[in-house]
Amino acid sequence: MFLETVLLAQRELRRNVLRSSLTVLGIVIGVAAVITLVTIGNGATQQVAEQIGSLGSNMLQLRPGQGFRGPGGASSDSKRFTLEDAQAISNDIPGLAAVAPTANASTQAIYGNENWSTSITGSTNDFLKVRNWDLDSGREFGDGELQSGRAVCIIGATVKKELFGGQEPIGQSIRLKKIAFQVVGVLKSKGQASFGNDQDDFVLIPIRTLHRRIAGNADVGGIMVSVRDADAIDEAKSAIERLMRERRRIAYGGQDDFNVGDMREIMSTVTGTTKILTALLAAVAAVSLVVGGIGIMNIMLVSVTERTREIGIRLAIGALGREVMMQFLVEAVVLSGFGGIVGIALGLGAAAAGSVVLKVPFVLEPGIVVLAFGFSSVVGIVFGFFPARKAARLDPIEALRHE
């Protein structure tokens, strides 16, 4: 009986194809928008998580100051680290694969007529180990070069492309702050990274060289640590914290003036932000679903008025009020449900296209599809209820007289 009512409803709706399609458009757009945004948002969240994960889940990052300050920006007035701190960590704490003190500067890199503004990181070979970065050509720094602070550098793929074009950079010299640095290695391209940073736009020089020739001080901005065994990461983290409190002479119960960042923390913060953004966008899109529902109500009211005489006939020949009500309610739900299905198809299509354009993975979440369909049906019930009740309450005598 119910199936028959549905068939009857879709036949009724097919009688007025143009009107039905236009009515449904609001729901289609609403559902499609929600599906598209949520799917692309999930893709972006996953991508960010993957990128952070690619940094190595067993990585710890020491920064001066308190708390995680978001990617890239962790400067504070707190006391800087020193190379001795890094050395102490490396010597005293077991189970570490690499300890890389880092300091940053940004400047112009010049080769011949070309110049390119880039960021310079001073560190050791351990930096490449911690980040899992591989050389495309050339070599790492020699021990002597690191110790004596020689003017040598390893450049990223973007710097190579901008300064050298097709030429071979190994053995050539580029100028940073008027000092000639010999290129000894080129890194493999890593592609676009999260947060819009180009990880290939990068020059690595020995940290002592940066201290002496570029920065003019011996500050270590941060220390990156790679733990050999990912399971030992919490242990290593507290050992480093204990050591650093000691070295920085922080009294028992005193506040840390540094923090040891754990990639998991960073990941949950960043993906959390992306998720909130996705939810917000989806909520905005959901408003259009409600607007679509009002559209359905409007057309159902028109339909009830138009079909007053039909309703009168049905009531006269013995239809119960609730049967008439069910008929119109089912029509509204068939409309909105159909709109939901079309919207889901459209939304998934748009999300698939969007993920190609935005270069994020296409992550289909079945839950959101079910939710969108369910919600659009509910919209049909809610907004179809009033017109349907109006139809059911018609007086058959009046309805039959209706012109």
Binding site: A316, G318, L320, G321
Partner: protein, 251 residues
């Protein structure tokens, strides 16, 4: 037949004896008032009427005489303000709206002046409409609707929509729809009002045949004395009352 003895029936029962107890339809002192207070209009001022099973009754009278109001009450679409209406011994005035709908569904068929078919819907689907509410499976419905269309002489027209049918054919589809449930009573409200005399004659002959061959009780409102002649009995309305020109039922 489900008869309810009515002890308060002290004016008509004595006169008509057995016929009164067998009456399919019995109106007793039925009044109908529309509106309230000063604006109140008394459309029916106390109607007594009994109609037996198998009668063909023409209901006549000028506009505003109360005949349409009476038809609405007889058709269980409306209830009396005062007085009682017994249909097969059941007091219709005491039934709920849903109960009256079920009673119409089971026992009554309607034919209207304006045909009142569903537009853009085939003759077959129009004819099977009442069966949907009886919950019959689609195959059974199709068979019965086809039979009904055949009995009004419209075999071969099943797929035509009202727009593709003449007025006479449309009214015959409407009659097929009314009789598809094999009702006890067919209520026809000026069934020939929109038809020329030739089509009117066809429709009247069809109604007469249904009355004669199937024993369907027919109550027909009409303006035209020519049409009323087809009925065995005429009931005249005037100013909310049944007047003296009416003929008694032979049931």
């Amino acid at each position: 037949m489900n008869e309810t003895p009515v002890s308060s029936n002290n004016n008509g029962a004595a006169a008509n004896g057995a016929a009164a107890n067998g009456a399919l339809i019995r109106l007793q002192a039925v009044t109908k008032v529309y509106g309230t207070g000063i604006a109140a209009v008394e459309a029916l001022k106390g109607i007594d009427l009994r109609i037996g099973q198998g009668e063909f009754v023409a209901i006549m009278g000028p506009s505003g005489s109360g005949k349409s109001t009476c038809m609405n009450i007889l058709g269980c679409l409306d209830v009396p303000t005062a007085g009682t209406y017994f249909f097969q011994g059941r007091n219709v005035g005491r039934l709920t709206q849903d109960q009256r709908a079920l009673l119409r569904r089971e026992h009554l068929g309607f034919v209207f002046q304006g045909f009142n078919l569903l537009g853009r819907t085939s003759a077959l689907e129009n004819a099977e409409l009442p069966l949907i509410y009886r919950g019959l499976p689609v195959k059974k419905r199709r068979v019965l609707a086809r039979e009904a269309l055949a009995s009004v002489g419209l075999s071969g027209w099943e797929t035509h929509t009202p727009a593709e049918l003449s007025g006479g054919q449309q009214q015959r589809v409407a009659i097929a729809r009314a009789i598809v449930t094999h009702p006890k009573v067919l209520l026809a409200d000026e069934p020939t009002g929109n038809l020329d005399s030739e089509r009117s004659r066809e429709v009247m002959e069809l109604l007469t045949a249904l009355n004669r061959d199937r024993g369907i009780t027919i109550l027909m409102v009409t303006h035209e004395p020519d049409m009323a002649k087809y009925a065995a009995r005429q009931v005249h309305f005037m100013d909310g009352l049944i007047d003296g020109r009416s003929t008694e039922g032979g049931a």
